[in-house]
């Protein structure tokens, strides 16, 4: 395998891990979700009882398991990058599959949670809390789905023995995947725990 490490000096302002473009995207996404979460908390002051009752109907166990799944997936993503740097393609491919498995399980559990809510007649129009719940979690889910596609493309490339692996592209994909963790780490307490 030919491996191009085009990012040797991570301490350079212009070359954070994964490249400056993905980090600009990460900060943009964090600002967007951050504002959404602050709006959720602000609106909860209008009708604290409604928000508290609605929050209690969410399955905290599902939320905690999903947190564990994303964090574990993030750990395997970091391991994938480490193995690629060591030029250990087989191990990197294995860890990347575990990373994707974590993401897929997250999506499955989120699907179960959504179906339970829909079966109970809870939709985006039920009340303001659920408007925030559906919008914020679905928007995050879209990011996880996009991340999974990016990881799948990387994995397919990794499987080809003669493929040239660009480490900056791999690190950019990893940074995007970790961003999904970061967003969830803000969403989980705001939606499931503190209201």
């Amino acid at each position: 395998m030919k491996e191009l490490n085009t990012n040797p000096d991570l301490n350079n302002f212009w070359y954070p891990p994964g490249g400056i473009l993905v980090w600009m995207l990460i900060f943009l996404e964090l600002a967007t979700f951050g504002m959404g979460i602050i709006a959720l908390i602000y609106c909860s002051k209008e009708d604290p009882a409604l928000f508290h009752t609605s929050r209690l109907s969410l399955n905290k166990t599902f939320g905690a398991i999903n947190t564990a799944l994303l964090l574990t997936s993030g750990y395997f993503m970091a391991s994938t990058i480490n193995e690629l740097r060591r030029n250990n393609r087989a191990k990197a491919s294995f860890y990347l599959q575990l990373t994707m498995l974590g993401g897929l399980l997250f999506m499955v559990l989120k699907g179960v949670e959504y179906s339970q809510k829909l079966n109970a007649g809870i939709s985006i129009n039920t009340n303001l809390f659920y408007t925030f719940y559906w919008m914020l979690t679905a928007f995050h889910g879209v990011h996880v789905a996009v991340g999974l596609v990016m990881l799948a493309v990387s994995w397919l490339r990794l499987r080809k023995k003669d493929a040239v692996i660009d480490m900056e592209h791999m690190e950019a994909g990893a940074a995007f995947w970790h961003m999904c963790d970061l967003i969830w780490l803000l969403l989980f307490p705001a939606l499931y725990l503190v209201l």
Binding site: P16, P17, I37, A68, L182
Partner: protein
């Protein structure tokens, strides 16, 4: 590096378990948000390798998580 990532993962799991059991009044919300901010920074600095990046990116990330957590606490 791999060992540090493993230790970070164990700490993250423990913090997630602790958070799941924290229920109660305002002090619990403060603890939950503090733990979440710690988890956020652990992922950013260790898994995303922000610890190796330029200070601008490190400080920016700390500002983002501090601002969101503080805003939630002030409004709550």
């Amino acid at each position: 590096m791999k060992n540090k990532n493993s230790i970070t993962w164990i700490v993250l799991m423990l913090l997630t378990i602790i958070t799941a059991f924290l229920i109660g009044p305002r002090y619990a919300a403060i603890l939950i948000l503090l733990i979440s901010a710690m988890k956020f920074l652990l992922v950013a600095f260790q898994f995303m390798e922000l610890k190796k990046a330029h200070s601008f990116w490190k400080v920016s990330m700390i500002i983002v998580v501090t601002f969101v957590s503080a805003a939630i606490l002030v409004i709550l």
